[in-house]
Amino acid sequence: MLWISSQLPARELPPAVPPPEAISFHLPVVQRLSNGLRILLIERHDVPLLTLYAIVGKGAEADPPNLPGTAEMVAGLLPEGTKMRSAAQIAQAIDQAGGTIDTGAGWDESYANVSLLSDHKELAFDLLSDMLIHPAFAPQEIERLRRQTLSALDIVDQDPSYIADLVLRRFLYEGTPYAHSEDGTPESIRHITRKDLVRFHARNYSPSRTILAVVGDITDQQCLALATRFFGQWRNHSSSHSETSIRLPAPRGRRVIVINKPDAVQTEIRVANLAIPRSSPDYYALTVANQVLGGPAANRLFDTLRTRRGLVYGASSDLKCYSTIGAWVAKTSTRSSESVNATEMMLRQMKRLRTHAISGQELEMAQSYLVGHEALEFEPPSQIADRVLELMMYHLPLDYWNHFAQHIRSLSTADVLSATQKYLHPNDDVIVLVGDVSAFRNKLKKLGPVRVVPIAQADQVFPQLEKGTAAYSESRE
């Protein structure tokens, strides 16, 4: 573009540099112990650190239907004592080595990580294996964690962002094992017994469904010797590993849920559609589409809501891809009075992505970003481990990232359009607003049939209660 103006300095452009190159990732070797435990080593000797990441292939998705929070509680209790060590002894050991233990549950996995100064290699394997294989689930530790979790739930009950994500999840994933709170509810946390925890552990923590990523200052031989010594005796239980298959819910029409928090100064907004599991071939095209809509860098939501209108601080969209299901979620928060306006602007952007192909320039920008960004993703060793574990968890080939650039670059604007038309359904989306309804009540009807619920009752809002809901209804406040 030619642009001449007498008042401005001579038009100058940044220096031209070659487009980013695709990375070539040196494939790590995966070894397998006789009990089926897979070990992935990423050797790095420049910094005296060693990190062990253990991923166990079941998470909150495997929570018993009436006991959400079980997977998280099991993982939370791993460092709280084993058959050989008390919680205090574990804390003392890891702290003295300057390190950290990190445990938790995602949706498709539970994890336990140990990271420390690398002159304590043996301790790392010893602690991690002990926690994974022999957790004590001591009654007093269970009661302590139960109490802590109940207190924490009391706090997040007042947090509009947390409530928005939680309500969205219930409606979006309705009828699937992904529809509950991974943190549990006050009800479920009160009712989980030691037996439930022991059963979850026995059923889901086994070497054949565990991947151990070893990252840092350790040699191949040291790693295999220590892994064999500390994990070699771990036995598989005979319980069958049936993979759950999910039947996707039939289209249910748009659902709009508004949670009223009268003292809120901002409204948290979520708009979402079901999308794809991680292994879907549509992942590449939707990744590009998401990049354009609300991806990590320049995007339409940010541009429309913030840069052009100053309505929000942040606006973004994310692909959440699990093993059997996934979603495309757009989120933002805005001052109360603009809640419906901002929601409509998001909806317009999503609709436009379905009715019009993105421009060639947008495609080129998204492709260029996604290809070049891989170099950053493979910088810190911890991130390298994450990227490879993701492949192993979702049964993708280990050389996946070496072909990623080629897949992204081969897409056309038509490919992206057909993906958005397949997955963006304005008539079947879920919209959640958490904020002060008095500031936008009269505009709500623009969004369709709406259900308004006071925040104190947010933990009782479930899709099945909606049957027979009038076009506009409001619960007692």
């Binding site: 890891i94 300057g98 990190d102 302590r144 950053l376």
Partner: protein
């Protein structure tokens, strides 16, 4: 240290507090067994400084431009200006229009900025081949920023949303702001970088242009480059792109009011719409880099780094008084605060938590920590430093902070030894000196009627 993914640790209000301490770990040491880095520096005739560290490995580079202006340079009635201005730096130059980030994104890079009490920092992390582009862009916006009434009005709205999102809407979000208002009487640290909405609404185009002309000049800027790049080429690009920018004509060293020593304990009580009571004890501490800052940083580790640390063990684990309890030293260029804070469990009052904290602090005043206790704290500091060395971004943060705030870019190689030299007696000495009642501001948060009502109504459902 044990971390759990659960909501206990993802709780955002503590995130907001932790956010203040980004630079505590960033300003840490360099260690015995850690690599020694070759730091290269450059000063241009217009006063611009550059600090560079080459690190072979992933083909990635981080560029940071540190402007030595932050919230503490703001005058009363003009709070929030430094941060507002940070936003304006993304809104286009006279040369390029609005495309700053496009050139970073196109290369697969990411860019952002942040404002602290002491500095405003702009950064880009990207594939190394894009280094000259980032340097060109940074030089361009140091000289050719296009500030208009429209962009000012827009960013003011954006910052107001930021204030609502990060401080006003989350539970406990305004606690730290209230604490600083009471802990300081004249120091500009008494307001947070986010500033007040009222002051921001009164900012004029003239004000922000003056701010730009005064502070966004080469003699107030340091360019930091860390990653896998050619040192000779980088130096040449820095000279080529930044040399033409003239030295600033305004003074950039305003007289910053010095906080007088506190002589009596201050107590503040707040009623908020939260579910559980909480408290924060804040003690005045000296500036970062002073001799006492090293033992004080280790005190925070002894008190609260890990489940075996004193505060966690006593308040959270053994007595279960608190849902969460922590401590942290917020070091900065001028004297700041050391915090001890806790969110109480249902049924426990702040007073119970405060009494437990007092007994722990008294123990460390009465007798020094054991060698083992101190060694644990030192290992934790070494570990954090080693972690920072795993990414060019974290190294650049540390290098920039050392160069601009602590005035010594070589600290990255020498600071570890200062931590390792700390003795148990040094710990006892700083405990006695700083952890005294007349040096403390205590802030207690109580659930207001709405908070209580929510609890009761839910409790009644079961």
């Amino acid at each position: 240290m044990i971390r759990r993914s659960s909501i206990l640790w993802a709780w955002r209000a503590l995130g907001a507090i932790t956010f203040l301490f980004l630079f505590v770990s960033g300003s840490a040491l360099g260690a015995v067994r850690l690599p020694t880095f070759n730091i290269h520096t450059l000063e241009l005739p217009n006063g611009l400084h550059a600090v560079m560290l080459v690190r072979r490995g992933a083909p990635v580079v981080t560029v940071e431009v540190w402007y030595h202006v932050g919230a503490k340079d703001e005058q009363p009635g003009k709070t929030g200006f430094a941060h507002l201005f940070e936003h304006l730096m993304f809104d286009g130059t006279k040369t390029l229009g609005e495309h700053f980030s496009d050139y970073i994104v196109r290369a697969g890079g990411i860019d952002n900025a942040y404002t602290t009490d002491d500095a405003t920092v702009f950064w880009e992390t990207m594939p190394s081949s894009n280094l000259p582009v980032a340097l060109w862009l940074e030089a361009d916006r140091m000289r050719n920023l296009d500030i208009t009434q429209a962009t000012l009005d827009n960013e003011r709205e954006v910052v107001n949303e930021e204030r609502r999102q990060r401080f006003e809407n989350p539970p406990y979000g305004t606690v730290i702001e209230k604490l600083y208002q009471h802990a300081f009487t004249v120091s500009p640290y008494r307001h947070l970088p986010i500033g007040s909405a009222k002051d921001l609404n009164s900012a004029t185009l003239q004000d922000v242009k003056e701010f730009y002309d005064t502070y966004y000049v080469p003699n107030n800027a340091t360019v930091v480059i860390v990653g896998d790049f050619s040192l000779d080429k980088a130096k040449a690009w820095v000279k080529k792109y930044f040399s033409p920018i003239p030295h600033g004509t305004h003074s950039v060293s305003p007289d910053i009011p010095v906080e007088p020593p506190q002589t009596a304990e201050r107590v503040v009580k707040l009623d908020q719409d939260v579910a559980l009571p909480a408290f924060v004890e804040a003690y005045h501490i000296p500036a970062d880099g002073t001799p006492d800052s090293y033992p004080l940083e280790l005190v925070s580790k002894i008190l609260s780094a890990g489940d075996s640390a004193l505060i966690y063990r006593k308040l959270v684990y053994e007595r279960q008084l608190a849902l969460q309890a922590d401590s942290s030293a917020n070091f900065s260029e001028d004297p700041n605060l050391f915090f001890v804070f806790a969110v109480m469990n249902t049924g426990h009052s702040p007073a119970e938590g405060e009494a437990a904290v007092t007994s722990i602090l008294d123990r460390l005043k009465d007798r020094p920590p054991s060698e083992q206790e101190l060694q644990r704290a030192k290992n934790q500091v070494l570990f954090e430093l080693a972690q920072d060395e795993e990414s060019s971004k974290n190294l650049a943060e540390q290098l920039g902070y050392d160069a601009v705030i602590l005035k010594n870019p070589e600290l990255i190689n020498t600071e570890a030894s200062k931590f390792l030299a700390v003795t148990p007696q040094n710990i006892q000495a700083v405990m006695k000196k700083y952890f005294v009642n007349h040096n403390m501001t205590l802030l207690e948060v109580y659930p207001d009627q709405k908070g209580q009502g929510t609890l009761n109504s839910r409790g009644g459902a079961h």
